[in-house]
């Protein structure tokens, strides 16, 4: 069940991978084929594969392991070891060649010691010796590194000849032929020791030669390293068997049945040759792990020699023991057993110690890596393209929203977590990397199983084997949500600032310490006529500063950079700006220096104040005009009053002269008329005076100074003492009234008017007048209270209007201007005046004076000037 499911998953994945590549339109390349074609490789690499479901070989699998790849593609060989082994291989080749040549020479000279070493041993046949010469040369040539075509041809031709010799000889044995190849070099008398056919080599030798010949031929054929090495190992085992036979003195081991036996020196040559072949390509195929720097390499190098040598030695000792007849056969077995146990246990113990240390170190490194990944929120994933094994680091799970081990890692699982909108992009990036081999780096979103959306940054690269094919895809996924959030906040902030600047009604310009324009907002475009892209990069001096001021501007800038003094900085300055079209216009500018690293930038807000200047000018003009009109009015009222008064004086005087000079000619009625004439003239004069006074209040400035009100009112009472005494008025003046800022003469007029009104409009036998004050934190309120005739509420407003009188002139004298004057004076001070009364009960006039002096039109102008001067 699980098997089927995993298979389905796997096929889905494979199809998916194929689809990715299909989509990226890769034409036939090994990459495209491999993920689908390779299947049974994973079982061979189980030491690395983390896929828990080893795939069963599918029907479509037709390519064998041997054609496919190196078994240990990523081991790093130990370079010194490689060099030593290479030298050994070269030496071995040479030695075997020499040995072969020596034996041939022995045949030529018929030297038994050379042919057979000992007369009791079988001889090395000439063909074998020849084959040794050839294969030794081949090994030597193939071990000397990259060889040129010629030498390579020689080497491969030799190997071919060796294989052919072996093959033909084997055929002779198998089919009973006599191909007459055995005597080609030298002949051997029939009946030679251990020889079934004269000069024909042993069948085992023939087999070994064939195996070695083939192995040398395919030694450098792509993906055939394991084949060559296996063949070699087979040859080594065959010759080793013969060798052990010699060593242990067991004839059946080197001379199988009735056929020719392998010579002793042949076995040695074969062993040497096999070792050389294995070691000359030790960095490939089966041997790669042995020479690697990895723990596996160390282990192999320790265990392999022991595994070969210990049994050999033990066996030999046992044989010797038996031959000597010291002990029985059982004891020999016992020896083998006990020594095997001891030596392998010791070896195992020794190796597990170092393995343990390595493992601890590795574990610690892994922990460190995990911790580092956790801190950095970087998960890493590895996809072994060949085996389809996908591994995730713990953090990779967390980045995707899982706990380590929650899910079976896989490309499909990962893709599910990628935000649907980003999937295409992710797939395309990975496909492109698989196709081109270029690393990928991109940002995408992850949707965690709980629905949380995280920002991730993915990077990865593909690892190729020696043939340039992609074998692994390494990738990292970093959770950059927090960073993105900060970036987003920063960007928002930046955008907000930008939009403030861009929508500002003032031109915003930023320059660096070298006067080069760095920023230029839309309003600056409008104000100066330069587009942002035109302005940025130019100097401010050449862009908006009129030629006459450029030097001063640059000097000021320079001075600030040098000394930090900038009298023009952080101030609102009015100067002239230069428009792109060349016209000058008034601007108001504030330049603020901003420390920027080790230098400065300057930001300037600039306002086109053409309109304001025009308005100011218009206002100034208007003010001048007003002042002129005012003074004209002043002149006018004066001359009016004088010119009006002059005839009045005439009327009054001359009417008086009539009364005086012609008294005897006028009857009583005539005298009366003359008097009315004179009184009218005087009244007219009073009216004119009051009007004049009233008109002056509004037009002339108040002369404000602190005034002690109590003493002021005392003065008024002295002035009015005649009237007060005449009516027996009881006047009470609060002696503790405050000192207030006001125009003494005018306020005096107010009190005079109010008090004389209080005296005038009083019919009580005992008139009483009280003058007092109360204050709050804003105003002083003064009150003049009487017990006079009172005023009806409907007249409260009316009485303050000019020429408004509530009574006949015969009853109460007056021009009807007094209260109007009071109202005008009080209001000029910023206060107000009102009345509280009940007819017959008395009247209270109240008015306020602000605690702080009132601002006046003339003053404002002055303040304005002051403000500008500052």
């Amino acid at each position: 069940m699980a098997e089927t499911e995993s298979r389905v998953k796997r096929m889905t994945y494979l199809e998916h991978a194929a689809a990715i590549l299909e989509r990226s339109r890769v034409s036939t390349t090994p990459v495209q084929q491999e993920p689908a074609d390779e299947s049974n490789g994973s079982s061979q690499t189980s030491s690395r594969a983390t896929n828990k479901h080893p795939p069963a070989s599918g029907d479509r699998v037709s390519v064998t392991l041997w054609e496919r790849f190196d078994l240990f593609p990523f081991v790093t060989p130990n370079p010194r070891l490689v060099l030593a082994l290479q030298s050994f291989a070269k030496g071995a080749g040479l030695a075997v060649s020499l040995a072969g040549a020596l034996v041939l020479a022995g045949w030529a000279l018929d030297l038994t010691v050379v042919k057979s070493i000992s007369s009791g041993f079988v001889s090395m046949k000439p063909n074998v010796a020849m084959a040794f010469v050839l294969s030794g040369v081949t090994l030597h040539l193939l071990s000397t590194g990259p060889t040129n075509g010629h030498l390579r041809f020689v080497a491969l031709a030799s190997a071919f000849v060796v294989a052919v010799i072996g093959f033909l000889t084997l055929s002779e044995y198998l089919y009973g032929w006599n191909l007459n190849i055995d005597h080609l070099l030298f002949s051997e008398p029939a009946g030679a020791l251990g020889t079934s056919a004269p000069a024909r080599m042993a069948p085992t030798s023939a087999l070994c030669l064939f195996l070695i010949g083939v192995s040398l031929l395919v030694l450098d054929v792509r993906r055939c390293y394991p084949v060559a090495q296996l063949l070699t190992i087979l040859a080594a085992l065959v010759s080793l068997t013969a060798f052990i036979g010699y060593v242990y003195g067991v004839g059946s081991l080197y001379a199988g049945g009735s056929s020719t036996a392998m010579a002793l020196h042949s076995t040695l040559c074969f062993l040497l040759l096999s070792s050389g072949i294995l070691l000359t390509r030790q960095d490939h195929g089966l041997l790669a792990i042995v020479t690697s720097d990895a723990a596996g390499g160390v282990m192999a190098r320790r265990l392999l020699p022991a595994a070969i040598l210990i049994p050999l030695l033990l066996g030999w000792v046992t044989v010797l023991d038996e031959e000597a007849g010291l002990h029985g056969p059982a004891f020999g077995v016992f020896l083998v057993v006990i020594w095997s146990i001891v030596s392998f246990a010791a070896l195992t113990w020794w190796n597990s110690g170092s393995l343990y240390r390595l493992d601890v170190e590795r574990q610690r490194a892994q922990d460190e890596l995990n911790k580092a990944q956790r801190i950095a929120h970087v998960g890493s994933a590895e996809w072994d393209i060949v085996t389809n094994a996908v591994t995730w680091s713990d953090e990779m799970f967390r980045v995707c929203g899982y706990e380590p081990g929650d899910v079976q890692p896989g490309y499909e699982v990962f893709l599910q977590r990628v935000h649907p909108d980003d999937r295409t992009q992710v797939e395309q990036n990975i496909a492109r990397t698989l196709r081109s081999g270029d690393p990928f780096a991109f940002d995408y979103r992850i949707v965690r199983p709980d629905g949380a959306i995280r920002m991730a940054h993915g990077e990865g690269k593909v690892v190729h084997n020696d043939e340039g094919e992609p074998v692994r895809l390494l990738g990292t996924a970093q959770d950059i949500t927090e960073r993105k959030q900060i970036e987003y906040a920063l960007r928002q902030n930046e955008m907000r600032t930008r939009s403030i600047i861009d929508t500002a009604n003032d031109a915003f310009v930023a320059i660096d310490a070298g006067d080069v324009i760095k920023d230029w907002n839309p309003q600056a475009e409008l104000t100066f006529g330069w587009k942002r892209e035109e302005a940025v990069g130019r100097t401010l001096a050449d862009t908006v500063i009129p030629p006459g001021h450029r030097e001063a501007h640059l000097e000021g800038l320079h001075r600030f950079v040098l000394t930090g003094e900038g009298p023009m900085l952080n101030r609102r300055v009015e100067l002239e700006g230069l428009h792109k079209d060349g016209h000058l216009f008034p601007i108001e500018m504030t330049i603020s220096p901003i420390r920027w690293g080790r230098s400065h930038i300057f930001s300037a807000f600039v306002r086109d104040i053409t309109e304001r200047k025009q308005a100011e000018e218009a206002l100034a003009h208007q003010t001048r005009e007003l002042t002129r009109i005012n003074s004209e009015l002043e002149d006018f009222t004066h001359s009016v009053s004088h010119d009006l008064k002059e005839p009045l004086r005439g009327i009054e005087a001359f009417a008086g002269f009539i009364a005086e000079d012609y008294a005897d000619k006028l009857d009583e009625q005539g005298q009366g008329y003359v008097n009315v004439l004179r009184e009218s003239a005087v009244r007219m004069k009073d009216l004119i005076d009051d009007l004049l006074q009233l008109s002056r209040i509004g037009r002339t400035r108040l002369d404000q100074a602190p005034v002690g009100v109590s003493s002021l009112v005392q003065d008024v009472s002295l002035e009015l003492s005649f009237a007060l005494q005449e009516k027996r008025v009881e006047l009470f003046i609060d002696p503790d009234m405050p000192t207030v800022p006001c125009d003494r003469a005018r306020i005096r007029e107010v009190f005079k008017n109010l008090i004389s009104n209080a005296v005038k409009y009083n019919d009580k036998p005992q008139p009483k007048i009280e003058v007092g004050c109360r204050s709050d934190n804003r105003v002083f309120t003064f009150a003049v209270r009487d017990n006079g005739i009172g005023i009806a509420p409907e007249y409260y407003e009316k009485i303050f209007k000019i020429f408004q009188r509530l009574h006949h002139r015969e009853e109460y004298e007056g021009t009807g201007v007094g209260l109007a004057i009071c109202k005008k004076v009080v209001e000029a001070h910023g206060g107000r005046i009102w009345v509280e009364s009940a007819p017959g009960e008395g009247t209270t006039f109240l008015f306020t004076i602000p605690r702080t002096a009132a601002r006046q039109p003339g003053q404002e102008e002055q303040d304005g000037k002051y403000a500008r001067a500052v």
């Binding site: 009053s641 002059e646 005087a653 002269f657 004069k685």
Partner: protein, 151 residues
Amino acid sequence: MESTLAPFRILLVEDNPNDIEITRRALAKGQVKNELTVARDGQEALDILFGSRSETSLPGLILLDLNLPRVDGREVLSRIKGDPELRRIPVIVLTTSTREEDVVRSYDLGVNTFISKPVRFEDFIKVVTAIQEYWIVIATLPPATASGGVA
């Protein structure tokens, strides 16, 4: 007592005939015997003052209106006060103006008294009487003018 004295010479510079009559009449009501010379404008006044110097007929007191045809009263005042001899003669500005500016300017130019003409004749008499009382009776005047006035 006053009958034994030569009349005190007063120069009235005034263009308004009504005011001339009023002034003349007011002076007549006073207790001091005086001889009134009237100049109808500033130029006339200057002619009298600067032309009559040799005849030692300079006035002992000048009553000067400010608003005058031809040469203005202010100009007359400044010419009088700019002259080393004439400056000793007391000049009383008698005008309808109550304008502060006129008052200040007159005193700046060296006027001895500034008086606003009252509208009421009774008041006018009081003013003129007071002038006579003060400048002719009470005050001690320099000899140059005294020689032309009260001997």
